[in-house]
């Protein structure tokens, strides 16, 4: 067993893990942050996307030990400080960008990364960016709308 420690959603965490323990497993089982989901084992569905040092990554395709010393952000860290829905989360609710909710955490985390990189993404840029996030419920239509709205709200906030 190895000791690993890093910061999750602003909180320092540590734990004992095997070499093979995935970051997603550590988040879900050790930390009980079960908002990060696992929908496949070939690194394609994107339900497990979190941010590591500001970059969107698939937490099922990274070992917990690789996160040593890093800063991890998960869906549980996306709400506003007062607990209300963050801008992207709110846009997803407003535009019905989720149905069963299983892919949603990964979608929100990817959307957040996209908006950071590209504050005014076009519809095609959004669809392209979501290549690694599979949703089976929504047909993506309202996810795209939600991300457009979230980007706009983020720009407005920044202005």
């Amino acid at each position: 067993m190895n000791e690993v420690s890093f910061v999750v959603n602003g909180r320092e965490v540590s734990g004992e893990v095997e070499g093979r323990t995935l970051l997603s497993e550590f988040l879900r089982e050790n930390l009980r942050l079960t908002g990060t989901h696992v929908g496949c084992d070939t690194s394609q569905c994107g339900a497990c996307v979190v941010h590591v040092d500001g970059n969107a990554v698939k937490s099922c395709t990274m070992f917990a030990l690789e996160a040593e010393g890093s800063n991890v952000l998960t869906i549980e860290g996306m709400a506003n400080e007062d607990g209300s829905l963050g801008v992207i989360q709110q846009a997803f609710q407003d535009h019905h960008g989720l149905q069963c909710g299983f892919c949603t955490p990964g979608m929100v985390m990817s959307a957040s990364a996209l908006i950071s990189e590209n504050p005014d993404p076009s519809e095609m840029e959004i669809r392209d960016y979501l290549e690694g996030n599979i949703c089976r419920c929504t047909g993506y239509h309202n996810i795209v709308k939600a991300i457009q709205a979230a980007a706009e709200a983020t720009r407005t906030q920044a202005a």
């Binding site: 190895n2 095997e18 070499g19 093979r20 995935l22 084992d41 070939t42 690194s43 394609q44 994107g46 996307v49 970059n55 969107a56 990554v57 698939k58 099922c60 395709t61 990274m62 070992f63 030990l65 690789e66 040593e68 990817s110 990364a113 996209l114 960016y129 290549e131 690694g132 996030n133």
Partner: protein, 261 residues
């Protein structure tokens, strides 16, 4: 997956030592290796992460060469090559998906030599030099068949030097499920000479389409390819396309790449 020991050295020297141990395996971004491990298709005793080694990070541009350090992620490579070698930057910027590009590396991609990966096409088409801790290997020597490379046990890619062509373009026709290349063609023109590398198509992995290179010699136009046919023999046939289809796509993608140069 099977369990293994894990090391994350911060220097190349330490990594070399760690990898010298039996059944040790290098871990770069892990975007291919980790799914492989999950399926229990590999059973290393130890994984040695190369991602904390500063010397393996970054893109350097100069003397007509873009040098990408081995553990540079696709995202970082795309950013670093954007000004000097846009075709390479575009290739790197379209591998996998954004989350994969934040982890996957050029060194990992070349060392794995997946027959449908993008980077091998760029390396072969540009005549890149793959630098390891032991030697320099030309791309023509490096790729030795599907998932095969010239790397020895414990040998680590440290950087890849891509000569910048006068013109280049990569056309990827995506396999609809994996989004890997069903066929990808990288065309690079250096003066009169063209190099054409094809990924996704062959059972032997990435290859140079020498007939296309000859046809383009001194006459670098799409029309130069008109009379050519690639034989489907030895090409991959699977549920996504027959060997004949891949042969056809190779020609189409090559033509589009030339036209886009």
């Amino acid at each position: 997956m099977y369990n293994f020991d894990f090391e994350r050295p911060s220097s190349l020297a330490d990594a070399i030592v760690a990898l010298a141990q039996e059944d040790s395996q290098a871990l770069a971004g892990g975007q291919t290796l980790i799914p492989t491990l999950k399926n229990r298709l590999a059973n290393p005793a130890k994984l040695v992460s190369l991602m904390a080694i500063d010397d393996l990070q970054g893109v350097a541009v100069g003397d007509g060469v873009v040098c990408v350090k081995a553990a540079t992620t696709h995202v970082a490579a795309a950013a670093g090559a954007a000004g000097s070698f846009p075709a390479l930057a575009e290739l790197a910027g379209n591998i996998g998906d954004p989350a994969v590009r934040n982890r996957g590396t050029v060194g990992g991609s070349l060392a794995n030599n997946d027959p449908s990966a993008c980077y091998p096409a760029a390396a072969l088409a540009t005549g890149a030099t793959i630098v390891t801790n032991l030697r320099e290997i030309s791309a023509d020597e490096f790729f030795t068949g599907m998932f095969g490379t010239a790397l020895g046990d414990g040998e680590i890619i440290t950087e890849v030097r891509f000569p910048v062509p006068d013109a280049a373009n990569y056309q990827k026709f995506e396999q609809p499920a994996s989004r890997f290349a069903l066929v990808g063609v990288f065309v690079a023109r250096f003066g009169d000479r063209a190099r054409v590398a094809v990924t996704g198509a062959s059972e032997d992995g990435v290859f140079r389409w020498v007939e296309a290179e000859s046809a383009l010699f001194g006459n670098f136009t799409k029309a130069s390819l008109d009379g050519l046919e690639l034989s489907p023999e030895g090409l991959i046939g699977d549920i996504h396309g027959s060997a004949e289809y891949r042969a056809h796509l190779t020609k189409i993608m090559a033509g589009r790449a030339v036209a886009a140069c």
